[in-house]
C-alpha cells in the first residue's frame, strides 16, 4: 500500500479538539453559570458565536473549491443565501396564523401584496424534512448546472470568477423583486419557531449553536475525505495543470463539478444554520461584496488548508464585530487593507505560513503560481 495521508492530521486534531471544547464551554458558560458571574456568556453572544461557526462552514466550503481546485468562486454567497432562503421559507410557514394579519396559510408579506394563494414553490416547506432537503438540493442543483456548463466549456480563472459574480448579482436583483414571492426587499423575518422550539428561547439558541458546530466538524471531515483521497490529488492536479490531466485521460469538468456541487451544498447548510440565529434572510445576502468577503476569510486563514479557512472566518468576523462597534468608519479601511496585506505579504495565510515554518514541507498542499491570462496566451501563441 502507498502511504496514505491520514484522514485527520495533526492540525485537524487540534482543530476538532478546539471546536469540541468551544461547543462544550459556551453552552456550559451560558446555561450553568449564573448571569451575574464574570464567566457568564450571554445568549446574544451564543448566537453571535453560532453565526461565526456558520461563516466558518461557508469558508470551508469555499476553500474546498478555491484551495484545492483553483475555482475562485465570487458567488459562494449565493449558495449560502439560497440555503438560508430554504430555511427561511420553512420558518415562515411555521408562523402559521400568528402573523400580523393572522392568515393561516399566507405569510404576512403575501397578504400585504394581495396574494390570493400560496405560490407553488412554497408547497412542502411546511415540512422540515422537505425544507432540509431543499437546503441541500437547491444550491446543489444550481451549482451542478452552472458548474457543468462552465467547466465543460473550460471557463477558468478570472473568467469563471467574473461569471460567478454575475450569477450572484443576477440572483440578488431577482430576489429584490416582490414578484419573486420571497418577500422582496425585506426578505423573510419575524420567525417564531423551528421544529416546535421558539427561536427566541435560550435553549434553542444554545442548541442551534451546537448544531452549527457539529455541522462545521462534519463539513470539515467531508472536505477532508474528498481531499486526501485520490480524488483530491486529481483535484489538485487539475488546479495546477488542468490540461495535463486531460492528456492523462481525466475529465477535469467531472472532478470540478463534483467538488463545486458538494461545496455549494455545504454553503447551503451554512446559510440554513445562519438564518435562525440572526432571525432574518434578505436579498442583501446575495450581494457580490459578501461573497468576496468570504474569499478574504479563506485567504487570511490560508487556502488549501481547510482549518485555516474556518479560523480565518472566525478571526475576521470577530475583528469586524469589534471594529464596527468601536469605530464604524475604520472597518472598511481595515478590511480593504487586509485584502492588500494578505495578498502581498501573506499569500499562504496564517495556517499555511505556520505549517511552512513549523510543520515540515509535505503537510500543506503547496500552491504554485496561477496560470496567467489572455496576454500571456497571445505571447505563447508566437512560438512554434
Amino acid at each position: 500500500m502507498t502511504p496514505r495521508t491520514p484522514l485527520i492530521d495533526r492540525k485537524g486534531w487540534i482543530f476538532l479538539a478546539a471546536l469540541a471544547a468551544f461547543c462544550l464551554a459556551v453552552p456550559v458558560l451560558n446555561l450553568a453559570v449564573p448571569e451575574g458571574s464574570g464567566l457568564h456568556v450571554p445568549t446574544y453572544l451564543v448566537s453571535l458565536f453560532g453565526k461565526y461557526l456558520a461563516y466558518a462552514l461557508l469558508a470551508v466550503s469555499l476553500d474546498l473549491v478555491w484551495g484545492y481546485c483553483g475555482i475562485l468562486s465570487l458567488g459562494h454567497g449565493a449558495f449560502f443565501a439560497l440555503g438560508g432562503y430554504a430555511m427561511g421559507m420553512y420558518l415562515m410557514r411555521q408562523i402559521g396564523s400568528r402573523g400580523v394579519y393572522g392568515n393561516p396559510v399566507l405569510p404576512d408579506f403575501m397578504v400585504f401584496l394581495n396574494y390570493k394563494a400560496l405560490p407553488w414553490y412554497w408547497y412542502g416547506f411546511d415540512h422540515f424534512a422537505f425544507a432540509a432537503l431543499m437546503v441541500l438540493l437547491v444550491p446543489g442543483l444550481l451549482a451542478f448546472v452552472f458548474g457543468w456548463l462552465a467547466f465543460r466549456s473550460r471557463v477558468t480563472g478570472v473568467y469563471l470568477s467574473i461569471i460567478t459574480q454575475a450569477l450572484t448579482y443576477a440572483l440578488m436583483l431577482a430576489f429584490f423583486r416582490n414578484d419573486m414571492g420571497l418577500g422582496g426587499n425585506n426578505g423573510l423575518t419575524d420567525f417564531k419557531d423551528l421544529l416546535g422550539f421558539s427561536v427566541q428561547a435560550q435553549g434553542f439558541r444554545v442548541g442551534i449553536f451546537v448544531a452549527t458546530g457539529i455541522a462545521l466538524a462534519l463539513g470539515y471531515l467531508i472536505a477532508r475525505i474528498m481531499t486526501v483521497s485520490a480524488y483530491g490529488k486529481i483535484l489538485i492536479a487539475v488546479r495546477d495543470a488542468e490540461s495535463r490531466t486531460r492528456f492523462l485521460g481525466y475529465r477535469p469538468e467531472h472532478f470540478k463539478t463534483l467538488a463545486f456541487t458538494v461545496s455549494a451544498m455545504m454553503a447551503g447548510v451554512a446559510g440554513a444554520l445562519y438564518v435562525p440565529q440572526v432571525g432574518i434572510i434578505n436579498p442583501g445576502e446575495f450581494a457580490p461584496t459578501n461573497s468576496i468577503e468570504t474569499v478574504i476569510w479563506v485567504a487570511v486563514g490560508g487556502r488549501g488548508t481547510l482549518v485555516g479557512a474556518a479560523l480565518g472566518a472566525v478571526l475576521v468576523n470577530y475583528a469586524k464585530t469589534v471594529l464596527t462597534g468601536a469605530m464604524p468608519d475604520a472597518w472598511l479601511f481595515a478590511l480593504g487593507g487586509l485584502f492588500v496585506v494578505v495578498t502581498l505579504f501573506l499569500p499562504r495565510g496564517l495556517v499555511g505560513t505556520a505549517i511552512e515554518r513549523f510543520g515540515g514541507r509535505r503537510a500543506a498542499a503547496k500552491l504554485p503560481p496561477e496560470p496567467a491570462i489572455a496576454p500571456k496566451l497571445a505571447e505563447e501563441g508566437q512560438g512554434s
Binding site: M1, T2, P3, R4, I225, M226, S229, A230, Y231, K233, I234, I236, A237, D240, A241, S243, R244, T245, R246, F247, L248, G249, Y250, R251, H254, F255, L258, R361, R362, A365, K366, L367, P368, G381, G383, S384
Partner: protein
C-alpha cells in the same frame, strides 16, 4: 481513397476500415490555419505498431501542432487522423484520446508540482478515471511496489516522496516519461525529451526509449541530432507544415533539401 473515408464515415464497417490501414497511427493531409498562418499544409504520416520514429524540423515546421492535432488539443481544418485503424482522432477530445491509448509528454516538462513524485505516477497509472471511482475506488489502494517499479525504471526511486517541484529539469523530464509508462499507452508522443539534460542523461534517455519501443509505438520530436542518431530509427523531417524527407538518419541528413532548410537561411 482517403477522402472517401472522410465523406462516408459510416459507409464502411470497422472491419473494412481496418483494412484501410494496418498502421497504428495514420495521418493524412492535415491542414491547420491560425489567423491566416498555415501551420500545417497537408501533413501525412503513418506509424506502425511498436515503431520508434523521430521527427525533426526547424522551428515553425509544425511538429508541436501535429501532436496537438493527434491528441485532440487542436482541431484541424481538414484531414484524417486514424488510430488503430478505426478510431477517428479528429472527432475525439483529449481525455477520450488518452483513453484510447495515446500518451503525451510535453515540450516543457509538465508534472504536478505540488504532488510527490510517487503521487505523480499514481495519478498516471492506467485504470478507471471517473471522479467517483477516484473518491473511494481502486486508485486509493494501489500497491506501493507497482509505483516503485516504475520509479526504478526512470531512476527516481530515491526521490519518491519529494515534491515534484523540487526536481531538476532533467529529473522532471524523466518523471514525465515515467508517467507516460504508467499510462501504458499504445503510442507515446514525446516532445523534446532531452532538453536540459546532461550528455549522460541524454544517452540514458535514448536507451530507455529504445527499450520501450517494440512494446509501444514511440514518436519523438527532437532537435538534438546526436540523440536522434542514438535512437537509431527512421527519421521524418518536417518543413513548413508538411513532410520534407523521410528515411534513415544518414539518408535524411544527406538530403540536400534538408540541408538547405537547416542551413540555407
Amino acid at each position: 481513397m482517403s477522402t472517401d473515408l472522410l465523406e462516408h464515415p459510416d459507409a464502411r464497417g470497422p472491419a473494412n476500415r481496418k483494412r484501410e490501414t494496418d498502421a497504428l497511427l495514420y495521418v493524412d493531409d492535415l491542414r491547420v490555419t491560425f489567423d491566416g498562418y498555415k501551420a500545417l499544409r497537408g501533413l501525412s504520416l503513418t506509424l506502425a505498431r511498436g515503431e520508434l520514429r523521430a521527427i525533426i524540423g526547424p522551428n515553425g515546421a509544425g511538429k508541436t501542432t501535429m501532436m496537438d492535432c493527434i491528441t485532440g488539443k487542436t482541431r484541424p481544418d481538414s484531414g484524417i487522423a486514424l488510430f488503430d485503424g478505426t478510431h477517428d482522432l479528429l472527432k475525439s477530445d483529449e481525455p477520450a484520446i488518452a483513453d484510447l491509448g495515446i500518451g503525451r509528454k510535453f515540450q516543457k516538462p509538465t508534472v504536478f508540482e505540488s504532488h510527490t513524485v510517487a503521487d505523480n505516477i499514481l495519478l498516471a497509472l492506467k485504470g478507471p478515471r471517473a471522479a467517483f471511482a477516484s473518491l473511494f475506488g481502486w486508485r486509493n489502494r494501489v500497491a506501493r511496489a507497482r509505483i516503485d517499479a516504475l520509479l526504478e525504471t526512470v531512476g527516481l526511486l530515491a526521490h519518491r516522496d519529494r515534491p515534484a517541484a523540487d526536481l531538476s529539469h532533467g529529473q522532471k523530464q524523466w518523471l514525465e516519461i515515467g508517467m507516460l509508462l504508467a499510462q501504458d499507452p499504445k503510442l507515446l508522443l514525446v516532445d523534446e525529451p532531452v532538453a536540459g539534460m546532461t550528455d549522460a542523461e541524454t544517452a540514458e534517455t535514448a536507451r530507455l526509449l529504445r527499450r520501450i519501443a517494440g512494446e509501444h509505438a514511440v514518436l519523438v520530436v527532437e532537435h538534438d541530432m546526436h540523440f536522434v542518431r542514438d535512437l537509431g530509427c527512421r527519421v521524418t523531417c518536417l518543413h513548413e507544415g508538411a513532410v520534407l524527407a523521410e528515411g534513415s538518419i544518414d539518408a535524411v541528413s544527406a538530403d540536400p533539401r534538408v540541408v538547405e532548410v537547416y542551413l540555407g537561411r
